[in-house]
């Protein structure tokens, strides 16, 4: 009896030991031998790396008006492993996603139970996301989630589009400031390792490593949207009137090189970049080069004055409009006899300036062309800038010494041209063009500050003053650009009428690039402005820079003077329909 009791006890003990041994072995197998495998499996099911998206920086104008913003949107994703009834889920949300319920149900079913991230729709507004949430809640369904995303928007549409650029579907800048400032604008996405329960809900106490998102910096441009608006409005009006192949206008502050406005036509809406052609996307101010024509005459004239080879009163015989050199005839638009250097620039004599260049010599001419910044990139922070085309003297033909001074056989970008004119307006000091003024982080702390940069003193202030004097007379009854006059102000500027280069060689007959580049007020310049119209539709022989681009300059400059509240320096002639108020205006002004 006693033995039996002991035997039973021992048997039970062995049984229990055996049983627990089996459990122990299994436990060791699960916890030690297969630890890695099951940890990975658990992690796959419950651990996720949650991305915390960084906000792309905002682009603003000089007065902090937003030029590029972000609209928050949602990406709708499905986790098939959480969906029991794809048909019911599809029926609940298909109409909100503007999808066919059957297609949606198929998508949810065919993706298989293992698919944890099926993208159903991108860029849906916040309100739609809320409606979907409510529908799912009402129907007691789950498995649909929302990822935070954003869409880049440009509130001003086409305005400044080529300068700002746009972003691609990965939110990377593809052109303009969006591209050049990509590193500052994009920020850095953060992350957080999270654990979820079986319903997909995060278990906050088990949060793992976390790195916050670093939002992109805000970029402030030098562009003044008020001036930009004026420039674009008048450029559109000019395009409607003259129907040019393309048009460009740039406004710059000569003392600092800050670009105040920059526009090109044709243009595009950066909110719909897919609709734009490559031609519309081009920022012609920096990616196109043209033969500048007579606007280039300021280079040779400045050079000969700076080298003291002549004075403004030195006389040049302009061969009565017919000058034979190197076997070819060079002509003036109107036959002219003896002119002073001042008049050569004022009347834009090709022969006069060619003779000045011959006096200067090839090496010196090339040196000054380079010193004015032609043939090299300006270094502005805009994408795709080209350097233009200026050949060194050893590649010049015998004719080039007479052609380059009048803006042939060289190709320049509109930005180079306006920068060179700004150099004259700025007392001979060449400034590096600026489009970005500063970069700040999300707390407003400065990250980078762009200060005006002097490239070099190209000519002396005295030479610049002499050139300015001649350029003032260009915009007068005696000059070539009377139509560029602005009531109340003295304008200094130069017209350009360049025959279009034929890609097959030579020049196209009757087709011109017309331009006017000048600054105002001439005595104390507040802005330099270039207006360039490529191939305007005009009557034969009427397509001159002073006739086409000059009036556009005048209209922009007049409005800009009002916008900048510039004080008139001359009497404003009475306008038709004006009342007696003008008398008061003049009398108060004279009391200065």
């Amino acid at each position: 009896m006693r033995w039996n009791e002991q035997a039973r006890a021992v048997t039970v003990c062995f049984g229990l030991v055996g049983l627990f041994s089996v459990f122990s072995v299994r436990l060791i197998d699960l916890q030690i031998l297969q630890h890695e495998k099951f940890t990975a499996l658990a992690a796959e099911k419950h651990n996720h790396k949650q991305i915390i998206y960084a906000r792309r920086g905002i682009i603003r104008d000089a007065h902090n008006e937003p030029l590029a913003e972000n609209i928050p949107v949602k990406t709708v994703v499905a986790d098939a492993s959480h969906i029991r009834d794809p048909g019911a889920v599809a029926a609940a949300i298909a109409d909100k996603l503007e999808m066919d319920p059957r297609d949606l149900a198929d998508k949810l079913s065919q993706s298989g139970k293992g698919s944890k991230h099926i993208v159903l729709r991108t860029e849906i507004p916040e309100e739609t996301a809320q409606k979907i949430r409510e529908s799912l809640w009402t129907a007691n369904l789950r498995g649909i989630y929302f990822d935070q995303d954003f869409v880049r928007v440009y509130p001003n549409g086409q305005m400044l589009s080529q300068v700002i650029g746009f972003v691609d579907h990965e939110h990377k800048g593809t052109m303009g400031v969006e591209r050049t400032m990509q590193d500052f604008l994009q920020g850095a996405d953060g992350f957080r390792y999270i654990e979820t329960d079986r319903t997909g809900k995060e278990l906050v106490p088990y949060r793992g490593q976390e790195s916050p998102a670093k939002d992109g910096c805000d970029v402030k441009l030098t562009v003044d949207l008020g001036l930009q608006n004026i420039v674009e409005f008048e450029l559109d009006a000019a395009c409607a009137e003259f129907k040019p192949k393309n048009a460009t206008a740039i406004m710059m502050r000569p003392q600092t090189g800050e670009i105040l406005a920059m526009a090109s036509r044709p243009s595009f809406d950066p909110n719909k970049p897919g609709d734009a052609s490559p031609d519309q996307e081009k920022n012609r101010s920096v990616v196109d080069m043209v033969e500048p024509g007579s606007t280039f005459k300021i280079v040779t004239t400045s050079a000969v004055l700076e080298e003291k080879l002549v004075t403004p009163d030195t006389t040049i015989f302009c061969e009565n409009g017919h000058f034979q050199y190197a076997g070819r005839v060079l002509r003036d638009a109107h036959p002219m006899g003896v002119l002073t250097v001042h008049q050569v620039l004022m009347k834009s004599s090709n022969i006069g300036v060619a003779k000045l260049a011959l006096q200067l010599g090839e090496a010196k001419l090339y040196e000054y062309v380079r010193r004015f910044g032609f043939g090299q990139k300006t270094g502005v922070t805009l994408s795709g800038e080209i350097s233009g085309l200026v050949n060194p003297p050893y590649r010049w033909s015998k004719l080039d010494i007479t052609r380059i001074p009048m803006g042939q056989s060289v190709a320049v970008t509109p930005l180079q041209l306006v920068t060179a004119m700004s150099c004259i307006a700025n007392g001979g000091k060449l400034m590096k063009p600026m489009i970005v003024s500063d970069i700040t982080d999300q707390n407003g702390r400065p990250v980078a500050n762009f200060t005006p940069e002097t490239v070099r003193q190209v000519v002396s202030a005295e030479t610049a003053r002499k050139i300015t004097s001649a350029l003032k007379d260009v915009v007068s009854k005696q000059g070539t650009a009377q139509k560029a006059e602005v009531p109340g102000f003295r304008v200094a500027g130069k017209t350009g009428t360049a025959q279009k280069v034929d890609p097959r060689g030579g020049y196209m007959s009757g087709r011109y690039v017309t331009s006017f580049v000048g600054f105002m007020p001439a005595e104390d310049p507040k802005f330099t402005l270039l207006v360039l119209l490529d191939d305007p539709t005009m009557k034969e022989g009427a397509a001159f820079g002073g006739v086409v681009a000059g009036p556009v300059f005048a209209r922009i400059a007049e409005k800009a003077a009002r916008y900048l509240d510039l004080r008139p320096t001359e009497e404003i002639p009475p306008q038709p329909g004006a009342n007696g108020l003008k008398k008061v205006a003049l009398s108060t002004r004279n009391r200065d």
Partner: protein
């Protein structure tokens, strides 16, 4: 006699029982506290998650409204509205602007008589 009587008494070991009870109670309380704290942690985590979500939603909504304001007050939209509503705004001609000169004598903001003699003559 006394010895044998003591042997069959089987006195209750109160101290030992007390120790066991106290230990068990401590363990039980510790266990319950652990569960309670764990539960609290879970609840606060849930609250934190909800608040974070609400904060994101509010920020997102605020951002969306801000962008909407920017868009509606952009120059392009305002100019379209101006053209559509034909407000008839006419720019002031340059010769109709009266400029009042600033005094250069360094005297402060005292009142001065301003006369627009000649106005509408």
């Amino acid at each position: 006699m006394n010895r044998s009587r003591r042997n069959i008494t089987h006195s209750i070991k109160v101290a030992s029982i007390f120790k066991v009870v106290v230990s068990t109670a401590i363990l039980a309380i510790a266990g319950l506290t652990y569960v309670y704290l764990k539960n609290q942690l879970q609840q606060y985590g849930e609250i934190q998650r909800r608040l974070e979500h609400e904060l994101i939603e509010i920020r997102t909504a605020s951002e969306a409204v801000r962008v909407q304001i920017t868009q509606l007050s952009s120059r392009a939209v305002l100019e379209k509205k101006l053209a559509k509503n034909s407000l008839g705004l006419v720019p002031i001609a340059s010769d109709q602007i009266v400029r009042l000169n600033q005094r250069h004598d360094g005297i402060g903001d005292e009142l001065r008589v301003v006369s627009n003699r000649g106005f509408n003559q």
